[in-house]
């Protein structure tokens, strides 16, 4: 691949999202012997989505620990290893499998620090992926981020671009708190320019992916790409949408959303996860509480239907927001 130079002088290279994640893992494993990856099919096979491809060759089987299919056992081992000095990155192949590991995430990793009066640190990253769009049906396609945002003690990170994937994973590995790092299965083969060498994107900082003045679309993960596509279409119709990619749901960059809404006076929150109890409700409520007087229209949520993800391609598309849905709702908000 060809190396290019950005305006700031940092060399970048075009990479797929999964290559960018691989680059982050490789960089951190070279930098710090305490970093290891643990998970199913991550060694010779390179991970179900090829995020750990080639790591076995470089780091060997003690730092690329392929495990039996034992989700709570491996997440729990990650908690214990993190408590005692390692910086494990545990791969949960699908976020849908988090149910099998949930006690170690919810009751152990998230709470140890607080519950033990500050004695403990749990520098654990649980890398997983979610989302629909590959015909994997209901048990392999969910978007469960709202579960984790509801648990004090967890950080929740959901990158949308290759560069953010690398920078946020690097920052997550260096973070001293447990991080749920949720990738999207349809983003792995998206491409983008990624800074070479060390690249950190701090947790808790949103990114304005497109500037606009007519309404603010807040989103994360794959729907950010849909929002950008919708914004292009809206621009052709004279609507100038701002697109904010939260990147991390916890910690939340509330100020970025507030300052945008104070300029555009309209908020649309967009996510693939089901609407009921989704994180979009949190964003909408926060803005209603803190910037009500700045709004020219009620905050809107555009999100997944309250159903499991169906199998057939046309059905699958019908339950999560598509580009045309975003265009339609944005226009409704401005009419």
């Amino acid at each position: 691949m060809q190396a290019t130079e950005t305006r700031t002088g940092v060399a970048t290279r075009e990479m797929f999202y999964n290559e960018a994640l691989n680059d982050a893992l490789r960089g951190e494993m070279r930098r710090d012997d305490r970093v290891l990856v643990i998970g199913e099919d991550i060694a010779e096979h390179g991970g179900a989505f090829q995020v750990t491809a080639g790591l076995l060759d470089e780091f060997g089987p003690t730092r690329v620990r392929q495990t039996p299919i034992s989700e709570i056992g491996i997440v729990g081992a990650g908690v214990g290893a993190a408590l005692t000095g390692l910086r494990p990155v545990v791969e949960l192949m699908y976020v849908d499998f988090a149910g099998l590991a949930m006690d170690q995430i919810l009751n152990q990793a998230a709470q140890n620090r607080f519950m033990f009066g500050g004695q403990a640190r749990v520098p654990l990253v649980v890398r997983t992926q979610g989302g629909s769009g590959r015909g994997n049906a209901a048990q392999h396609s969910k978007s469960l981020e709202a579960w984790f945002t509801h648990v004090p003690g967890l950080k929740v990170v959901m990158p949308a671009t290759p560069a953010d994937a690398k920078g946020l994973l690097t920052a997550s590995i260096r973070d001293d708190d447990p991080v749920m790092f949720i990738e999207h299965k349809l983003l792995y083969r998206t491409k983008g320019q990624v800074p070479e060498g060390e690249h950190l994107v701090p947790l808790g900082v949103a990114d304005v992916k497109r500037r606009g003045k007519d309404l603010t679309i807040v989103s994360w993960s794959r729907e950010v790409l849909f929002a950008l596509e919708a914004a292009t279409k809206l621009a052709a119709d004279g609507v100038d949408a701002e697109v904010i990619d939260l990147r991390t749901l916890v910690p939340l960059d509330k100020d970025a959303v507030l300052s945008s809404v104070r300029r555009t006076h309209r908020l649309l929150v967009l996510h693939e996860a089901v609407k009921r109890g989704g994180y979009g409700a949190e964003i909408a409520a926060t803005i209603a509480e803190e910037a009500f007087d700045d709004l020219d229209a009620p905050p809107r949520r555009l999100a997944g239907l309250e159903t499991p993800i169906p199998y057939a391609q046309h059905l699958e598309k019908s339950v999560v927001p598509q580009v045309e849905d975003i265009v339609r709702v944005a226009k409704e908000m401005l009419s």
């Binding site: 034992s70 056992g73 214990g80 290893a81 620090r113 607080f114 033990f116």
Partner: protein, 320 residues
């Protein structure tokens, strides 16, 4: 067994027993909030195993965890302070009885989730293996936890990776209110070890000498890099599942009389005297010293200020 070891084991067991008596009293005086689970009757297990552990070895404990804390050399004053919700408590009043941890002594915490500590000890053992140290980890858990999925997944992982870990199952005859006979179709839980490819040892958890001996071998094996061991210690819980348990699942005879018939602390006192390792007077002196330490601990806790209110989010996250 030499005199110093015997007397130290006795002192630890006697300390645990007295701590449970004293915390029960404090609970009765409404000074302890929430709930407590007494370890009385099971003292020989924590004492016999932890005697082989250094401060840099790790344990994970259970909701019935006071004994493990004490055997891992926790400070009594800070333990009582935690039960009383004081700032000087191990968890500054955030954890309480079910969550006492002392990371400075390798105690990775009691756990309110049955079986929750088993994978965590496994991960600690992974750290030792990864860093090439000779540290070991011990997961203490009850017969109830042996029927959780974490037991199965963790023992298998530790066996395939040859991790330096001891799985110490304290069979106190009840999973909350369920008798072991109704929870296991086997008489011998230790036989499960064979299925994982690790040694399984059943030991009389009432006899601290037996526990001490079995743990010595398992710890040495772990330090040598030869992998995990499952130890199942047959024991008996003197009290109900929790303070105030009406114990409807037990007979009157059992509730009133069995604690006398199954008493590892009284047993230790007897054999130490019979073997001529110490006189009754020496043992009495240990008892008095333990009781004095206990009162010092209670006084320290009662004199400590209440835990300061929670600062959010500074305490929830290490960095934010």
């Amino acid at each position: 067994m030499d005199k110093a070891t015997a007397l130290d084991l006795y002192r630890v067991m006697r300390t645990i027993r007295r701590f449970e008596q004293r915390s029960t009293q404090l609970f009765g005086e409404n000074k302890i909030w929430g709930t407590i689970h007494s370890y009385a009757g099971e003292e020989a297990i924590a004492a016999g195993v932890c005697a082989h552990l250094r401060d840099d070895d790790w344990i994970t404990s259970t909701h019935r965890g006071h004994g493990h804390c004490i055997a891992k050399r926790a400070d009594l004053g800070r333990m009582f302070a935690e039960l009383l919700g004081r700032e000087a408590g191990y968890c500054r009043g955030r954890g309480g009885s079910m969550h006492i941890a002392d990371t400075s002594k390798g105690n990775l915490g009691a756990n309110g989730i049955v079986g929750g500590g088993i994978p965590i000890a496994t991960g600690a053992a992974l750290t030792a293996k990864q860093l090439g140290t000779d540290q070991v980890a011990v997961a203490f858990f009850g017969d109830g936890a042996a029927n959780q999925g974490t037991f199965h997944e963790s023992l298998n992982l530790a066996a395939i990776w040859k991790l330096p870990v001891l799985y110490v199952c304290e069979n106190n005859q009840y999973a909350e209110s369920l008798p072991v006979k109704r929870a296991f179709a086997t008489e011998d839980i230790a036989k499960r070890a064979e299925g994982y490819g690790m040694p399984g040892v059943r030991v009389d958890g009432r006899d601290v000498r037996a526990v001490y001996g079995v743990a010595a071998e398992a710890v040495a094996r772990a330090r040598r890099g030869e992998g995990p061991t499952l130890i199942v210690a047959d024991s008996y819980r003197h009290e109900g599942h929790y303070y105030g348990d009406p114990r409807k699942y037990q007979s009157k005879d059992e509730v009133e009389g069995w604690r006398e018939r199954f008493d590892p602390v009284a047993d230790a006192r007897r054999w130490i005297a019979e073997d001529g390792l110490a006189t009754e007077a020496e043992l009495d002196a240990i008892d008095r010293k333990v009781d004095a330490e206990m009162e010092k601990g209670v006084a320290f806790a009662e004199a400590s200020p209440l835990a300061s209110p929670i600062r959010i989010p500074e305490e929830v996250y290490a960095s934010h």
